[in-house]
């Protein structure tokens, strides 16, 4: 009887939300050259894991993403400002780190860092050194920018539902060079 209970408990523990586990399984793996932390998994949908129900539930984000330089490359933009305004009129700004990652902590987390609990839809603008880029539409409910802003396989139907990776500069611009003092390579391989 006890054995049956033990097996049942193990089965329960191994159960998980198939949506979350499927999304996690679909992610590229960790880069072995980048430790888990604020610089890891640039360009990936952060809140798949950094969610109260995800494996990184101890560090949940309200919103998160990566700002790259241009559409044709994935060079992280350091110290860009990402400015959000939600449907209640509340605003929040956050800076990117040297790989372009930014994240907004959920209330109650972040060890004293500013937190925000936005009401969707949200409007967003990115700027640095006087250059700004405004998202034309609104964010309806998605907390990970990369769930819509990803680089689709150009031969697949995904190109009709992807807005391409987030970028601040246009194709023809000359963006500033990537950060020299970044602890990891800010150029995504």
């Amino acid at each position: 009887m006890r054995r049956k209970h033990t097996l049942f408990s193990i089965a329960l523990l191994s159960c998980s939300d198939p949506v979350t586990s499927g999304a996690i399984n679909a992610l590229p793996g960790e880069d072995p050259n980048i430790p888990i932390g604020e610089f890891h998994r640039a360009g990936q949908p952060c809140v798949v894991c950094h969610d109260p129900s995800g494996p990184a539930s101890s560090s949940p984000f309200a919103l998160a993403g990566t700002v790259f330089a241009q559409p044709q490359n994935t060079v992280g933009v350091d110290q860009a400002t990402v400015a959000f305004t939600d449907s209640s009129g509340s605003s929040f700004t956050v800076q990117t780190n040297c790989v372009g990652n930014f994240f907004v902590w959920r209330p109650g987390f972040g060890a004293g860092a500013p937190t925000w609990n936005p009401e969707f839809p949200i409007f967003v603008r990115i700027f640095k050194n006087g250059l700004a880029s405004t998202m034309q539409g609104q964010i309806g409910r998605e907390r990970s920018c990369a769930n819509c802003h990803y680089d689709a396989d150009p031969t697949s139907l995904q190109i009709y539902s992807s807005a391409g990776h987030l970028h601040l500069y246009a194709t023809s611009d000359t963006p500033p060079p990537p950060s020299n003092d970044c602890p990891v390579n800010p150029v995504l391989q």
Binding site: S87, E119, F120, P121, Q136, G137, Q138, I139, G140, R141, E142, N147, C148, L157, I159, Y160, S161, S162, A163, G164
Partner: protein, 174 residues
């Protein structure tokens, strides 16, 4: 007992005579159940579609191919094409507006028919009940009661004259 059964049978026949749904649903002769829809005007939908595009059609909401009430738009999901139309590139096309129309009227074909026939109020449709939060909606309140989007969509559904002023205002922003 027999008279009570007869009364029930007569009532059922009378009710079925007045039932539009029975007239709209039929077998196509090959065993396939077909539901025709009493639908609001497709031409007027050209002014209503931008409201759905703006309020509902972002890529993370109904601008997803796998979600019910699929909405195409210039800023969101694009209908596969050879014209180079991608999310954020070029305006919503007439083909996309037509697909949006079919999405909207086909979400609940029977209920849509009842609303257009004047049997049920527009708020019985999910396309209003959910964004108005009369029913649970993952995306929260996308429309407020009495706002320009509500007035636009409701006037279109009622068919008594499209509120073009509200439609234009709702399509231009929140």
């Amino acid at each position: 007992m027999r008279s009570r059964l007869r009364l029930l049978a007569i009532t059922a026949v009378l009710l079925s005579i007045g039932c539009d749904e029975d007239e709209l649903t039929y077998d196509d002769g090959g065993g396939i159940r077909v539901t025709t829809i009493l639908a609001p005007d497709q031409g007027q939908f050209t002014m209503v579609s931008p409201v759905f595009e703006l309020r509902c059609g972002s890529l993370d909401c109904h601008g997803q191919p796998g979600r019910p009430l699929r909405i195409y738009s210039g800023l969101g999901l694009r209908l596969p094409n050879d014209a180079g139309n991608l999310p954020g590139v070029n305006a919503t096309t007439p083909d996309e507006i037509a697909e949006n129309y079919y999405s909207v009227i086909g979400l609940e074909p029977e209920e849509m028919s009842r609303v257009v026939a004047g049997e049920d109020p527009p708020t019985d449709l999910l396309i209003l009940a959910k964004p108005l939060m009369l029913e649970s909606h993952k995306g929260g309140p996308a429309i407020a009661p009495g706002d320009t989007a509500d007035l636009c969509i409701t006037s279109w559904l009622l068919g008594a004259g499209l509120d073009t002023t509200s439609c234009a205002a709702a399509a231009s922003g929140f």
